[in-house]
């Protein structure tokens, strides 16, 4: 890390030691392999580029998720949120989705957002599961605080795991009170919701070394379902 000024140092939150997220490969319904790995601060600009066109897509609350994620990614890049991490899902090196969150303390995690670009293959479910895996298995936390901003998220997290209500806790994303995934619920859900293989074959890892973006048109088309054929 480059040297920073005293003032900049004062503006940055103290950082906790965060374990690395070991990459994994997931075989999707399409037969394609999606590599899930952590994203570095240097990769944030390309992620912002992917998210940018979604700021105006109202369908399925993409606008609010994209806008908040945009700010969270900037905060990650510029050291303005404490202990944040970002995971990306890449299919043949092309961004399929991303998730982020942060560590509140050694025992508690805070899930932020899950954004799927390649829809219809449960990419969001896989990435959310990877995020929970990171908190519980790699960071060895006791629980993760979670809210959903769309009905899809509510079905995927609150119902499918299922999460417990922790209504006395205010989630950092504001709005509704928090739900929580405790460690034991995670392990009960793991056989049916958490997938992936390690180590990732070299060939797949190499393809996932850098992040390529689908075209802006393809991103909007994927998330909004707009295609030729009318109506």
């Amino acid at each position: 890390m480059a040297a920073i000024s005293e003032l900049e140092a004062a503006l940055r939150p103290p950082a906790m030691e965060m374990p690395p997220y070991p990459p994994k490969a997931i075989r999707l319904a399409s037969g394609e392999a999606m590599v899930v790995r952590s994203a570095t601060r240097d990769e944030v600009p390309i992620l912002l580029q992917a998210i940018h066109p979604l700021l105006w897509v109202e369908r399925d609350f993409y606008d609010i998720v994209a806008a908040r994620l945009f700010a969270e990614l900037l905060a990650y890049k510029r050291y303005r949120v404490r202990d944040e991490y970002v995971l990306v899902g890449l299919i043949d090196g092309v961004l399929a989705g991303l998730v982020n969150g942060r560590l509140v303390d050694a025992k508690t995690g805070m899930s932020y957002h899950t954004l799927t670009i390649r829809r219809g293959l449960r990419v969001g479910s896989h990435l959310f599961a990877a995020k929970m895996e990171y908190h519980i298995e790699h960071c060895r936390q006791e629980e993760v605080l979670i809210v959903a901003e769309s009905p899809i998220g509510f079905r995927r997290w609150m119902i499918e795991y299922p999460l417990e209500k922790r209504l006395e806790v205010q989630h950092e994303l504001g709005g509704v009170p928090s739900w929580v995934l405790p460690r034991d619920t995670y392990y009960k859900a793991k056989p049916r919701l958490v997938a992936g293989r390690r180590p990732v074959p070299d060939e797949l890892l190499r393809a996932a070394e850098s992040i390529a973006l689908p075209t802006e048109e393809a991103v909007v088309q994927q998330v909004s379902g707009g295609k030729e054929g009318g109506a």
């Binding site: 319904a29 399409s30 394609e32 009318g230």
Partner: protein, 394 residues
């Protein structure tokens, strides 16, 4: 009956539509009317198929609404609600109007806009077709009925989940060639069944049926222009003839059937349609089945007479039902991948078959198709309409 011809066919892309109900129906109707090119020949009647508008779109009397929207007044107008068989029922009524001599040109349009409600409400709305006192009241849904049916059918005939997966894979592959299909995504056996990740990719919906055994919830519209022989002659050339239609009902509650795996209404409706057409199942070149669940493609193909009971899954294994196989089934992607806007489905099946018989199905064209069959499956098999179409001159 007097001969009935299909002079025009059109549909919207299935999926999620931002368009209101009547403009959605109007888009498909205009495509069909443009295709028919009726010129100064008036449209005598409009029949609209729909299942849920009164409940989920808060709109009724769709026939009158569409006739006015398309400036077709004073044409006669009706709306038909017959569950998921609404589409082919409306088609049958349109045919009857022409066959009886009461009309020379009828527009039949199926439309549904289901994505305005969430999945739970959508599932509940479709479940209202079940028997209220002994099914719905106990929480029966269409996926749960299909799950119970699948378990019994698979156990009885030695069908395995891999056979259902083969059907899903085939239909997704076919839909890739259909610009109107809801889902444009190929799937693989590894991804949905054999890989360790398949448990997450393809979760159970109603065992033994999993996510990729079930059709999506879709919006969409499809439309046909039916004409009399006299009008068809004026229009010239490429008309498709309605060779036969059959319809049959079965007990409302599935458990009251002597054999719940015997789709009696499919069998009887198909026999009637083939008898009217003076054709046999072996004469058929291309088939559209109502695969709201993959298991139904197997069961219907047997009940309709294409395969002996308990053998259709072997035909699937041999690849016979692929687009290039001996009996192509659901070349458009079926309900499984093309989508299933319930009221539109029966009409959309016939739109696809019209294009197939005219040789206009492009990348999904079944070579040399002359005779086509469709099964529109209402309720859980308690009201079925079967249709046989024939290319003129074939």
């Amino acid at each position: 009956m007097k001969a009935v011809y299909i002079a025009g066919a059109g549909m919207t892309k299935f999926g999620r539509s931002e368009w209101p109900l009547i403009p959605l129906a109007g888009a498909a109707s205009l495509a069909a009317l443009r295709d028919a090119n009726l010129g100064k020949i008036p449209v005598d009647g409009v029949v609209v198929a729909n299942m849920g508008a009164a409940r989920i779109n808060h709109q009724t009397a769709l026939g009158s609404a569409l006739a006015d929207y398309l400036a077709l007044c004073p044409a006669t107008a009706e709306a038909v609600e017959n569950g998921p068989a609404s589409g082919a029922s409306a088609f049958k009524i349109g045919c009857q109007a022409i066959a009886s001599g009461m009309a020379d040109a009828v527009l039949v349009t199926g439309v549904e806009r289901m994505r305005v409600v969430d999945g739970l409400e959508g599932t509940d709305f479709v479940a209202t077709l079940s028997q209220p006192d002994v099914e719905y009241i106990y929480g029966v849904t269409l996926p749960s009925l299909a799950g119970m049916f699948a378990r019994l059918f698979m156990d009885r005939h030695g069908v395995e989940r891999k056979h259902l997966a083969m059907i899903a894979i085939k239909n997704h592959e076919n839909a890739m060639e259909n610009p109107y299909a809801h889902i444009h995504q190929t799937i693989t056996m590894e991804g949905i069944l054999t890989a360790p990740e398949a448990v997450v990719n393809n979760p159970p919906i109603a065992e033994p049926l999993h996510l990729f055994d079930c059709c999506p919830v879709s919006d969409g519209a499809a439309s046909l222009v039916l004409v009399s022989e006299a009008v068809a002659a004026k229009l010239g050339g490429r008309s498709v003839r309605v060779a036969g239609i059959g319809q049959a009902t079965d007990s409302h509650a599935v458990h009251e059937r002597e054999d719940p795996t015997d789709l009696k209404a499919v069998r009887i409706a198909s026999e009637k349609a083939f008898a009217l057409a003076d054709l046999k199942p072996k004469d058929v070149d291309v088939v559209e089945l109502h695969d709201a669940f993959t298991i139904l493609e197997l069961a219907e193909s047997e009940a309709a007479g294409f395969y002996k009971p308990g053998t259709a899954h072997k035909a699937v294994e041999r690849g016979e039902t692929r687009r290039t196989g001996k009996l192509p089934v659901n070349p458009c992607g079926g309900l499984k991948a093309k989508g299933h806007p319930v009221g539109a489905t029966g009409v959309a099946q016939l739109v696809e078959l019209t294009w197939q018989l005219r040789g206009e199905a492009k990348g999904r064209q079944v070579k040399g198709a002359k005779v086509a069959y469709a099964c529109n499956f209402g309720g859980f098999g308690n009201n079925v309409v079967a249709t046989v179409l024939r290319r003129e001159g074939a």
